[in-house]
Amino acid sequence: MAISSDVIRGYNDTMILYLLLDQPSYGYEISRQIKTLSHEKYIIKETTLYSAFTRMEKNGYITSFQDQNTATGKRRTYYQITGKGRAYYQEKCEEWLLTQEVVEQFIRKGETENGSY
């Protein structure tokens, strides 16, 4: 069962901001972590990721800077979360909890596994 991109789209920002909470990171690293944390159930497309970066940078949730990777010496664009970004992340978390709570009411547990409705 593949994940519906329509539903998850609204939470790409949440995932990216979550990964930036502790330290700045760069494009591929974020995409790799999303893949690992979701147990390979969600793989974010490069264009989706870049689109999220530019949008959030425009909104002031993240800032970007150039830095050299200490291990490989490769120059990359790193992204860093801002105060505004943290507030937005908090907001999105609350929104999700609410959404989950509402949708949860309409999910009948154990039904789908039996294949009968």
């Binding site: 995409s31 264009t47 870049y50």
Partner: protein, 335 residues
């Protein structure tokens, strides 16, 4: 790796050449490169790694709004560059092959044109020494000159007809894909050093053309007059070889430029053009008409003055003056 690069470049080929688009391309490339490297480190095969990276790339539609390129992404390709025909690598190779042959023909015919003027000079000098058959020698000099000119014109016509089927390159709307553009660019870079060398030798030969008359003049005190009569001929031989080298190397560079100019310069694909030459130099149509015959007229003036006066030592002054006048006219007409 090359396949990924090609894929990305092709996706961006027709997008406008703006900083945002350029940045997006670089960022996406960074991510793809990282992913590819990691997949390879995990022990995936080349094909698998490339396949995964391309499959997980996504769609440029998502970037359209952020980059302000909505109208480009949603338009079908043909509309951005109407009736654009893509030139294949094979077409490009064939063009370069034929164009280089064309350059040889043109350069050789110019060489013959200049050399043709030598015939009357040498035969005339020979005629002066041998009194018996002087008329015959004079006549054969003239005849040989026309034979040279005829061969030259024949070669020009033949070569132009052969190149005729490439005429549409200048008129039609053509694009080349990234791999092909890259190939042309590479070939051009490769030819650059040869071009510089040939050009330098050519120009040096033109300058050194004054050496034979000076030497012959100095030698004339103890040598026959015949040699001195020939001095103009030696000048022409030097100039002919010099011009041959200049024409051939410039034309070959021109061939590469023609191909690189095909892609629309406002798109990423047109990024390769080394320098933008403003082709429309004269806005006034009368002036444009006059200037189109400027250099041929100067050439005629130079040759007429030189041959009438035989003052080869000073007639070259026509060229620098003509060049200064041309840039003056260009600048005045711009304002």
């Amino acid at each position: 790796m090359e396949a990924i690069r090609n894929y990305l470049e092709t996706m961006f080929l027709n997008l406008p050449n703006t900083p945002e688009v350029y940045k997006a391309k670089n960022e996406l490339w960074q991510m793809m490169e990282d992913k590819y490297t990691e997949l390879k480190n995990e022990g995936k095969s080349e094909n698998e790694a490339v396949g995964t990276v391309i499959a997980e790339f996504g769609n440029l539609d998502e970037l359209a709004e952020d980059l302000g390129i909505k109208q480009f992404v949603h338009q079908p390709r043909q509309e951005q560059t109407p009736n654009a025909v893509s030139l294949s690598m094979e077409d490009v190779r064939q063009f370069l092959r034929e164009h280089s042959r064309h350059s040889y023909f043109v350069a050789l015919s110019v060489f013959l044109f200049i050399l043709s003027a030598c015939c009357p000079i040498f035969f005339g000098a020979a005629a002066d020494t041998s009194l018996r058959s002087s008329d015959v020698l004079d006549a054969s000099g003239i005849i040989l000159m026309f034979v040279f000119i005829a061969i030259g014109v024949g070669m020009l016509v033949y070569s132009n007809v052969c190149m005729g089927h490439w005429k549409h390159l200048e008129e039609g709307n053509f694009v080349t894909d990234f791999a092909t553009t890259d190939y042309i660019h590479h070939e051009m870079e490769h030819y650059k050093s040869t071009h510089a060398l040939l050009l330098t030798i050519g120009i040096m030969l033109c300058i050194l053309s004054v050496v034979p008359p000076i030497l012959l003049d100095a030698a004339s005190s103890f040598a026959a007059d015949t040699l001195e009569d020939c001095s103009a001929g030696f000048v022409l031989i030097f100039v002919a070889i010099g011009v041959f080298l200049i024409v051939i190397s410039s034309m070959r560079m021109g061939g590469y430029r023609t191909l690189l100019h095909l892609n629309n310069q406002n798109t990423i694909g047109g990024n390769y053009v080394p320098e933008q030459q403003d082709r429309q130099q004269y806005h006034n149509s009368t002036l444009a008409a006059i200037m189109s015959v400027y250099w041929p007229t100067i050439t005629c003036l130079y040759l007429i003055w030189s041959f009438l006066s035989f003052d080869w030592w000073i007639t070259w002054i026509v060229w620098p003056i003509a060049a200064i006048v041309e840039s003056l006219i260009k600048n005045i007409s711009k304002n």
